[in-house]
């Protein structure tokens, strides 16, 4: 199977940190600022940043519909923090439109302002040892719909969730040396890619 191609939404936020993480894992990535740049991607990362800023770009420059189509066509997507907010189907505090690709309710800046930002460790299903989590003005996943797998929790709330090809974290694995979360996404892309190629060869 060919190497997966990962795009990183680069309108605003810590897209370079995701690129650097993938590079350390030996995976190439490309920056996505226009709808056309999604064409060759198998997976897309929505980085941290300001979700209001990113959302406006997505809506005004055709990326909003392009990303929804990318997901509908079988692309895998991983959102961190602001990216998780964009993926949710309900955003509160304040209310905000979103891509509605994951059935969950997200509260923005729910832990408080920057002074409440912190680095913690918590349990996950990804590995036996504790997972390091960097929370920065983080949202809280208040509700998850049926069929959503909770991969990690912190303080009684889901912080890493997945359903099928869509993954979301309210923390920032890209700001750590921890590769487990990105590996999970790459595995998701690879299995999806396998399925897509198998389907293509049957046709």
């Amino acid at each position: 199977m060919s190497k997966p191609k990962i795009g990183i939404l680069a309108v605003q936020g810590d897209f370079e940190a995701h690129g650097a993480m993938l590079a350390r894992m030996g995976v190439d990535s490309s920056e996505v600022r226009k709808p056309g740049e999604l064409k060759d991607c198998d997976g897309l990362i929505l980085p941290g940043g300001e979700s209001t800023t990113q959302l406006q770009f997505l809506q005004e420059e055709g990326l909003f519909d392009a990303i929804r189509k990318f997901a509908a066509d079988g692309g895998a997507i991983f959102g961190t923090c602001a990216g998780a907010i964009l993926l949710a189907n309900e955003v509160k505090h304040p209310d905000q439109p979103s891509l509605s690709l994951l059935d969950m309710t997200v509260l923005r800046n729910a832990y408080g302002r920057q002074i409440a930002s912190e680095v913690v460790t918590g349990r996950s299903t990804l590995k036996a040892e504790a997972l390091e989590m960097v929370f920065i003005r983080a949202p809280i996943i208040e509700r998850v719909g049926r069929g959503i797998e909770i991969l990690a929790e912190y303080a009684g709330k889901p912080v890493l969730v997945q359903k099928g090809r869509i993954m979301a974290a309210t923390f920032h694995p890209e700001l750590t040396t921890e590769t487990a979360v990105h590996q999970r996404f790459l595995d998701t892309v690879a299995s999806q890619n396998g399925a897509r190629h198998a389907a293509a060869s049957q046709e």
């Binding site: 605003q12 940190a17 940043g49 300001e50 209001t52 800023t53 920057q114 930002s117 912190e118 960097v134």
Partner: protein, 298 residues
Amino acid sequence: METKNVNGNEWRVKVGLAEMLKGGCIMDVTNADQARIAEKAGACAVMALERVPADIRKEGGVARMASVKIIREIMDTVSIPAMAKVRIGHFMEAEVLQALEVDYIDESEVLTPADEEHHIWKHDFRVPFVCGARNLGEALRRIAEGAAMIRTKGEAGSGNVVEAVRHMRAITGRMKKLTTMRADELMAEAKELGAPLELVQQVAKTGKLPVPNFSAGGIATPADAALVRHLGAEAVFVGSGIFKSSDPETRAKAIVKATTHFDDPKAILEAHEELGEAMKGIDVRQLEEKDLLQTRGW
């Protein structure tokens, strides 16, 4: 990204928020209405201050931290991070802003300095700080004191990008030079820069500042924003340029767009299409030494 005397985790979340602002525009605002306009235009953060630099320059007097009432109104109005400025060396203004829970503090030369010898020891605070710099030595001194983000000083309130360009080129040029030097040359270099050896060695190894490097001071048009992005700025601060223009909403949006698409001249052209008149601006060479804001702090 570790520096001395810092709780490693606290340092990481300070730098972490600066990472989240990359590729974006941070806009000066003096009231809640302006903050709303900035957020709607796509600003990734707002900077609360009493008067924009162009007015401080015109009206004179002592420029201080903005009123708590206005900062709180701004914080309550927008969901993006809210920053606010304190006078250089005024650690009690900083304590007040920390108690208010602003998201970032700018120890800024735009306000009248409270201390002409000492900057704030920023490691003592949990709220992160951004500081201005004209060159690499100044940037590294501020980082050593605990600044988690650096911005060029430029010449605030001038509407003239020339000083921001000068400062950004000075910082990146000197960093490039460091990467070509032998290990035994770095001590003399640290002495000349007036910066801690440890940070000089770190820059020599990576070719980058250990914290995000943004640009400020005189950015007035979308092309200005794209220019400093090309020269190495990872995000831009826009002060008087927006609310001193004839068309704040359109201009704010256009500068945001150009900051993201800095590498795409067609997008910058589009950003310029709808624009009205920019702020008038000042030829910085006509300013007297005493009127320069960038020489405040060291």
